[in-house]
């Protein structure tokens, strides 16, 4: 028995720590990536220092660079045998290079911190790439529901093409076109949602049915605990209303009433919890 217990404990301990072991092993699968990243960063920093300071590199940056550069050499020597040392060297090198690049960017002429959400700093190509990715996601979803939105997508792709041409030409009514795309997309989303709800209505009804049966049980329990009968009746009335709406396939309305029921149950101290 004792042996069994010890065995079980060992198995459990191993089972608990094994995921982290797997992660670590994965991290070490190709440690040469550390060297590749560090060498690339080293070259970039040399270019930056050359471009910004020429032959007159400030002493603090020179010291930092030498520290980082030595770490890259040490990293090269540590691989592939001493992985732990290589990791330390990598972090030391990248930290030194990070400090250098941040110091350079702070001391450069353009010391303006720009948040990328700043509209004046917009990058139209990125904006269109993101929009196109969004359109493709919606198109993929729409195909699942046999919606009649194919022509809408054709129109959207035409507009995206038009936008790209405008950007290449360097002028155009970008915002107008983007707004037009967004309006069509909103309409497409509504169509998809409606179609999805129709196809999924049975599933949703079953889901609500399961929930409402549970709420009934909670209310019985609340009644046993002397909760005011008026409140119990009100909850039952809401349940009835939801069932009626579901029978008429008015899913969205049922959801609204369910949200009301949920809030009400929380208010009387019997929140809906299904586990």
């Amino acid at each position: 028995m004792k042996k069994l217990a010890v065995f079980a404990i060992i198995v459990l301990i191993f089972g608990t720590i094994s995921p982290s072991l797997v992660d670590r092993a994965y991290g070490q699968s190709d440690p040469s990536i550390l060297l590749r990243i560090a060498v690339q960063a080293d070259k970039q920093i040399v270019n930056q220092l050359d471009r910004v300071y020429g032959d007159q590199i400030p002493n603090n940056l020179q010291i930092l660079y030498d520290k980082g550069h030595r770490a890259v050499y040490s990293l090269d020597e540590s691989l592939p045998n001493d992985i732990e040392k290589a990791k330390q060297d990598f972090l030391l090198a990248m930290n030194s290079f990070m400090q250098i690049s941040r110091t350079i960017s702070q001391s450069s002429e353009k010391v303006v911190v720009v948040t990328v959400s700043d509209k004046s700093n917009r990058h139209l190509t990125s904006e269109i790439d993101r929009l196109e990715k969004y359109v493709k996601t919606l198109e993929k979803i729409s195909k699942k529901y046999n919606t009649n939105v194919e022509s809408d997508f054709i129109k959207i792709y035409d507009l995206i093409q038009e936008l790209r041409i405008q950007i290449n030409d360097g002028y155009g009514t970008y915002d107008d076109v983007i707004n037009e795309i967004k309006i069509i997309l909103d309409s497409v989303k509504n169509d998809i949602r409606e179609s999805a709800i129709k196809q999924k209505s049975d599933f949703i009804k079953r889901f609500f049915d399961r929930l409402l049966n549970q709420v009934d049980k909670i209310l019985t329990h609340a009644q046993d605990n002397d909760v005011d009968q008026i409140q119990i009746d009100k909850a039952h009335a809401l349940i009835l209303e939801i069932r009626e709406l579901l029978s008429k396939n008015q899913i969205n309305d049922a959801k609204v009433v369910f949200a009301e029921l949920k809030g009400f149950m929380e208010k009387i101290g019997y929140p809906i919890r299904i586990t």
């Binding site: 089972g15 994965y26 350079i104 720009v114 990058h123 904006e127 929009l131 969004y134």
Partner: protein, 335 residues
């Protein structure tokens, strides 16, 4: 501390028939307690993955666009018996949010500050995609990506970007459409990167490294064949009379120093000195030799060498972890 089972030998309690008796006091307790302990540990161990499987991302993939906006796609296991699920987003400036449940069922969402309330309708897995503008900041020419991730994640950096600093060890790296894709561990991560036209990006792929082994085998075979050929040729040459001829040195293939300077009239004077030294050294020299000769610090010499490489005057080779600087042979053709 005491043991529940005590060996009877210690108490000299062998029976008359020589049968070994074991004191049975505490055996029941021992068995029950051990079983309970075991059972509770098994239950605890079984519950850990269930608890952690809900609300924790299965996958988390990030794509950074050139303007610093980031596309996030993630899959999350959720409790199928709840109507709503609240997910913390990585910021508050959200665009193009799409959430789908089981069977690509489009789910309704409400964004409240930096979280989203999703009506899951009993879905057990939800896929979320959105664009966010809060993860990357820019100062001067330096871009900084920051994220405190609940799980491991992948990060696709923009084209022509080069990492110049990072706070975490990457788990993996690969190349996707000429872009670096990093796999990073959970926790806080900061990555600094720059855009440059001169970047020799992307960083060579892992596959290139892994192929080295096969290249080494092929190379080894070629070397053995060559050595064999050399031995055969030398054996044959021993029977021939030695012929006087001027040794062909590599320098013959290299342009003379005046031609190099004519082709590159804009070279700096100190760089010309370097070129002269390399030329007189048989057309090649180690970077460390150059440093010793010209008494220059490592960085200054590195930059000078890089300058000459950019000018197309020299090429750099790795030799025993050192940089071997060689004058280029085909300069004239390029000009």
């Amino acid at each position: 501390m005491y043991s529940f089972i005590e060996p009877t030998q210690s108490n000299q309690s062998l029976g008359d028939d020589g049968i070994l008796f074991v004191r049975n006091e505490g055996i029941f307790d021992t068995m029950v307690k051990t079983s309970l302990l075991l059972a509770s540990m098994i239950i605890a161990a079984a519950l850990i993955p269930i608890q952690s499987s809900f609300s924790s991302p299965r996958d988390l993939d990030l794509i950074i666009y050139p303007d610093g906006s980031t596309h996030i796609s993630t899959e999350i296991d959720v409790d199928p018996f709840v109507t709503d699920y609240e997910l913390n987003l990585f910021g508050s400036t959200i665009d193009n949010l799409v959430v789908v449940g089981d069977n690509e069922f489009l789910l309704d969402t409400d964004i409240i500050h930096d979280s989203v309330l999703i009506q899951t309708f009993g879905s057990s897995i939800i896929s979320i995609e959105y664009d966010i503008h809060d993860l990357v900041s820019k100062q001067g020419k330096l871009w900084t990506f920051s994220l405190d991730s609940p799980s491991n994640f992948t990060l696709l950096l923009p084209q022509n970007s080069a990492i110049v600093g990072m706070t975490n060890l990457p788990i993996n790296m690969e190349i996707i459409n000429d872009q670096n894709k990093l796999t990073l561990p959970s926790g806080k991560t900061e990555i600094d990167y720059l855009f440059s036209n001169t970047i020799s990006n992307p960083i060579p792929d892992t596959e290139t490294e892994t192929n080295y082994f096969s290249y080494a085998i092929i190379g080894g075979v070629i070397v053995i064949v060559l050595i064999g050929a050399v031995i055969i040729i030398r054996t044959k040459q021993k029977n021939l009379k030695p012929v006087n001829h001027n040794p062909i040195i590599e320098k013959n293939n290299i342009l003379d120093i005046e031609t190099i300077f004519k082709l590159k009239p804009d070279l700096r004077e100190d760089d010309k000195e370097l070129v002269k030294f390399i030329f007189n050294n048989g057309g090649k020299a180690l970077e460390s030799e150059l440093r010793k000769k010209f008494l220059q610090p490592r960085t200054t010499m590195w930059r000078a060498v890089k300058r000459l490489e950019r000018e197309g005057v020299i090429e750099i080779e790795k030799k025993d972890l050192q940089n071997l600087v060689k004058l280029r042979k085909n300069m004239e053709e390029e000009e």
